[in-house]
Symmetry: C2
Subunit: 157 residues, 2 copies
């Protein structure tokens, strides 16, 4: 095999991936959901998503994801059977959790229980970013509000 | 059932746990490993551990843990079959990863592959804290160096 071509049968190696302003070095976002510009802001309300570790291509039963919401962006208001664990890494936002709004700051932990209705929102002027851990095998989210066409963060595109 | 006594058969509720200087409100550390004082520092080299989400008592296949190392503290130098995913939350430290030392700062991601030898170390003056995600069902760590009696962070006490 020529130099520089990774052996696809070799096991994954240990790695350190450094955090920068645009994510982690060498790690592309999984999907980018474009939103309309927030009124008066000129900024699109986008949601970016990274798979940091785990998932079907690994030997793990979990996925560790990172979501970053532009100012004004929200995730879909949804529920599912699988549990979420969220830890805020940057910015200030809020979660609508079973009908109650909680402000969130870096380090805060959110446990979303099975079938808990939840929506994450960036109400600040800076990006709002959080880690989210789920099982690799999980059910698909269901929208809470009939007619809500906001795409789920668990689906590509 | 009297007021104030939770129903043990009710499903776990969704929760927000706020991060403070001493951990998360309402969440006790799992285990506390006392270390000797670092020479000249007067500070014990302790390792604290929290289970933030998941684990056998949940419906999840993962555990989300948080480790905090006092200045001078290290975790055991060890390896295991299961994969680690680590994200630094506070402080500055380093990881010895398959024989190579990498400096770590908040936001950095470490993927420890199956059987990768690893040790986390706080070389700074502030606490060094990181999240760590693992499968709930996993093998026990094995020390890398014969005669190393540093207790593993995966065992209580």
């Amino acid at each position: 095999m020529p130099d520089g071509v990774p052996n696809p049968t070799s096991p994954p190696a240990s790695r350190v991936l450094r955090r920068g302003e645009e994510g982690w070095n060498g790690l592309a976002p999984l999907a980018y959901r474009r939103g309309d510009a927030a009124p008066g802001s000129g900024q699109p309300r986008d949601v970016q998503r990274w798979l940091l570790a785990g998932g079907p291509a690994s030997g793990c039963a979990y996925e560790l994801r990172y979501f970053e919401l532009a100012p004004g962006a929200t995730t879909a208001h949804e529920r599912h059977r699988h549990e979420h664990a969220v830890v805020v890494l940057r910015g200030n936002g809020e979660v609508l959790l079973d009908g109650v709004v909680h402000a969130l700051a870096p380090g805060d932990l959110v446990r979303v229980a099975a079938d808990g209705a939840h929506q994450f929102r960036n109400r600040g002027a800076e990006p709002f970013g959080f880690l989210c851990v789920v099982d690799s095998e999980r059910d698909r989210p269901r929208p809470v509000d009939p007619g809500d066409d906001a795409p789920s963060c668990d689906l590509p595109g």
